[in-house]
Amino acid sequence: MARVPVHPGLFELDGGTLRLVGGYSPSSGRFHFPSAPVCPYTGADDVEEVTLPEQGRLWSWTAVNAAPPGYSGPAPYGFGVVELENGLRVVGRLTEPDPGALSKGQPMRVVPEEIGTDEDGRAVVTWAFAPSAGEG
């Protein structure tokens, strides 16, 4: 099935892999996500788009048990923050919807997740974090 990102510019999709696209400001030395026209920490306009590390560790997590307004994808779904290998903490869906199955600091990796179909029948894809057993 053809796939379409939930929003342009957030990530690169290549087959089964997804890479988040963030911003890096050489003058501040800091990363952010999603990439913004200026560095959110200093206002510097030297932001370069970079792909962010695929691996990280689980920093906080929960599950959303009922679909919130404006959302028509599957529920319940996992929701959390993963600290990437470059220190940036990113909010995202988790592929594991049971909070009891997750633990602090466990290795996670970013993956594509389908959250529905658009009017042309294409799968709508967003980023999510999945436990990556045995790594890290």
């Binding site: 939930v6 959303v64 923050v81």
Partner: protein, 372 residues
Amino acid sequence: MADVGVQIAGVGMHPFGRFDKDVTTIGVEAVRAALAEAGHPPIDAAFCGTAYGGVASGHKVLGALGLTGPPIVDVEAGCASGGAALELAAVALAAGRFESVLVFGIEKMPKGVIRSSFFDPWQEQAGLTPAPAYFALRARRLMIDTGITKEDLAAVVVKNRRHGVENPDAMFRKKVSIAEVLESRLVCDPLHLFMLCSPNEGAAAVVLRAGEGGVRLRSAVLRSHLPGSVLSEATPMAGDDEGVTPPSALAAAEAYERAGIAPADLDVVECQDTDAARELLSWQELGLCEPGEQPKILAGGHFALGGRLPVNPSGGLLSKGEPLGASALGQVVEVVRQLRGECGARQVEGARVGLSHTIGRGANACVVILSR
């Protein structure tokens, strides 16, 4: 602002809950009560806090009262809207621009999980917007960082709901037990339904006047967030630094300094408790305790009515519910009534100095200090 002499001339409330009337009518009742207490002074300006009211909400309330003519400005700062309105009024009075200013907050919230224009449509589509989920992530981190347990979170609800029994303006007026809180529906682990405030309807109003005597506004400070914290109320998609000072701490530090007091001087506090963990964070951000001290304080009942520093004697938002634009001023009304000794069974005996605190989307925090 500590020495300008701003006094509270009158306060008024419309109870928080669900009502079969429009937001203008709800606002009129609160404003009319506050003006009556103040002796119907000529109003030089009005600031109205609201997030969901729509265009010229404050104007409609004053129009219904035949009080248009002076400037009427709606103020939106998420959950801190009413506090932001109060700060603007206080600054205008301090500058000598006005003699009497009306500040009020009104709201009639949609039911259920709050839908916010703060987010882009794709964020809703991706499931990245529910406020209770962000509250839950913050609660989990608080538990990891400090050893606070789910039972401690439930104990906050037990405390506030017990206080709320005595507040006729509250939505929920029944005591709950730890077990009942933990048996309520799991919304976003670790947060259960009773640990989350309910969006609802209501209004609160305050008339400020230049002058001395009665309850005085010692400081009203609004501060926004510094970027970095991924779980701040600014709700970013990413952040790289949890060490930044949160806006509540920035606002509190400035408010204490302007008022010339320290946390130890406080007799009563109304703080943001949109969820149970938020209240425990507020304690440390306002300097009421050290991080990690919360379980001991809860167990000792130190911040309950009858303890050394009652926090949320009104029952908090966990009992009152949260009409966004009105909630901050609802806290101010409670502190004013506490300082006047009007609170009956929930009265903090001999209260002379009080603080109220809210923090809203966009991460504006407001801290107000009052004394008599």
